[in-house]
């Protein structure tokens, strides 16, 4: 039988340290929903999503009750819509987003991802139309998330897309100016986007994925922080071992939930994503883990090293606990969703430049960063280009989710609500990148992409 202190440890992790399953995401292929008639395509999309995901929320809630582990989000990701919608003769894809929103409402999930385009080497006609539809689509829908992959290590960086996404982000913020530019919080720009990521806003169902699949994202920064608090002053070997053991335990629960959910739904099990995803709740912060390691404030010198250790140890512990690991799998550092990150920015310890350095050693990238409303589209494009370069050269995923909050200045706070939290407006470099961004074209793939 299991020993009592192990039972108590598990219960403590859940009740006091915010251990939870962050998301069960059902990936659904829409590749059989194409039609020359947009109305037919949308009907097929709606029918397929509501048929396959009909029981998703109920199964999630049942598992939550039976195992006593909170499952925070139930979500859906679909095939990038540009691939489906471009068979139709329509010019505007906003209606496809509305259909996704309606289907998400019908099955009760809180987000649906996949209003996406993959343009890392260039645009098709459908990609162009989809990207142009993003601002309106995200401003009139509630649950739809959008992503654009504009660079890979194999293909280099599509700088035309980089330029355009700066403008799209500005426009999205403008259309939702009454809510602080909320549409931008649902839009991610990727380099090396994973095809099986369960986390929003960047989830989509990749073209190599099966018909329908269950991917699970675990969480638990609070649990890691509490474990580290017990080894105060110990050397880094102990720190690393402690994180590994904790990550193992967290991931085992993710694996259990993923298996159980896929069995009950009759859908294949995809991956467990080993990301440490913070929430705005006090105690559920990645920044606090770094501070627990001995940094006065997240963002000070030593932060990148601390994050590198954390990220590596989480992967080492988690890999052994799950039969399939995928998605983003690394620590997230979204500013507005992490109480410690917000505190570090407010206190002047954490800047965009430091965050950029941190993205070299962890998953994702500049995530939920709020910048002044008067930041130019070219500056946003240049920030995207920098992140894409880090991803492409280092063979890793990077992303940018940036919100130029209309009318806001450095030092203001912008409230998004719920899991998106509230973000302090951060300073950007005042010098122009316009001529650089105006060049357009493609930045070639790096030499080490030639591996064959």
């Amino acid at each position: 039988m299991i020993r009592p202190f192990e039972i108590i440890e598990t219960i403590k992790m859940i009740q006091e340290e915010n251990l939870d399953i962050r998301t069960i995401t059902m990936g659904i292929s829409l590749r059989d929903c194409c039609s020359h008639d947009g109305n037919i395509a949308r009907q097929k999309i709606y029918d397929k999503i509501t048929r396959l995901a009909a029981n998703l929320v109920k199964v999630g809630e049942d598992i939550e009750k039976e195992y006593g582990i909170p499952i925070i989000n139930k979500r859906i990701s679909v095939t990038p819509i540009s691939l489906i919608a471009e068979s139709s003769d329509e010019e505007d894809y906003v209606k496809f987003a509305q259909t996704m929103d309606k289907a998400a409402d019908a099955v009760g999930v809180n987000f649906i991802g996949g209003f996406s385009a993959l343009v890392h080497k260039g645009y098709t006609n459908g990609d162009k139309k989809l990207i142009q539809s993003i601002p309106e689509a995200l401003s009139i829908t509630k649950k739809v998330c959008s992503s654009v992959n504009l660079a890979t290590t194999k293909t280099g960086i599509n700088m035309d897309a980089v330029r355009e996404m700066g403008q799209i982000i500005k426009k999205s913020a403008h259309l939702t100016s009454d809510s602080g530019g909320l549409a931008c919080a649902k839009l991610v720009v990727f380099a090396n986007a994973p095809e099986d990521n369960p986390f929003m806003a960047g989830a989509f169902h990749g073209i190599g994925e099966p018909e329908c699949v269950i991917n699970v994202g675990v969480s638990g920064p609070g649990t890691v922080k509490c474990a580290l608090a017990k080894v105060k002053g110990a050397d880094f070997e102990t720190v690393s071992e402690t994180i590994k053991k904790t990550a193992f335990k967290i991931t085992r629960i993710g694996q259990l939930v993923a298996r159980e959910a896929s069995n009950r739904l009759g859908v294949s099990f995809g991956i467990v994503d080993l990301s440490l995803a913070p929430t705005p709740a006090i105690g559920d912060s990645v920044a606090y883990i770094l501070e627990e390691m001995g940094l006065e404030k997240c963002g000070t010198h030593g932060t990148t090293a601390a994050l590198a250790l954390l990220n590596d140890a989480v992967k080492k512990g988690g890999t052994m606990a799950s039969s399939f690991v995928g998605g983003l799998s690394g620590a997230f550092i979204p500013v507005s969703e992490d109480a410690g990150m917000i505190g570090a920015v407010v206190d002047g310890a954490l800047s965009i430049e430091k965050l950029e350095a941190m993205t070299c050693v962890c998953s994702v990238g500049l995530d939920m960063i709020v910048v002044p409303g008067d930041t130019s589209a070219e500056t946003i494009s240049a920030i995207i280009a920098d992140e894409a370069a880090i991803g492409v050269v280092n063979n890793k995923t990077t992303a940018v989710r940036i919100i130029p909050a209309p009318g806001k200045k450095v030092g203001d706070m912008v409230e998004f609500g719920g899991l998106l939290g509230s973000g302090p407006v951060m300073k950007v470099n005042q010098f122009s990148s316009k001529e650089f961004i105006d060049r357009g074209g493609r930045i070639p793939a790096p030499l080490h992409s030639l591996r064959n």
Binding site: M1, P4, F5, I7, I8, T10, K65, E66, Y67, K249
Partner: protein, 89 residues
């Protein structure tokens, strides 16, 4: 199918009596009980067999939770697999 009932709080008369009454009414067999005091907190752990459960799992969880509130203790029931998967390879 087995589950673990956990009771945490201050020790008092009649904890086992009131909980086992609920379990018996739902046709749940108690397989093992252990109790300890950890860091001044009374902890009781019951391993129960729920294969013959006569009501739904979530209804049983609610009943136990309510009883817990009534007697001033935290009572929860969870499928044993969550502990097995976390602590055993």
């Amino acid at each position: 199918m087995r589950a673990i009932v956990t009771v945490i709080g201050k020790d008092k008369v009649g904890i086992i009596a009131s909980l086992s009454n609920i379990l018996a009414n739902c046709n749940v067999n108690i397989l093992d009980i252990s109790q300890t005091t950890m860091q001044d907190v009374f902890t009781m752990i019951m391993l129960v067999d729920i294969s013959g459960l006569s009501i739904s799992f979530s209804d049983l969880a609610v009943q136990l939770e309510k009883k817990g509130i009534e007697i001033g203790l935290s009572v929860s029931i969870q499928h044993e697999d969550i502990f097995n998967s976390m602590h055993q390879i």
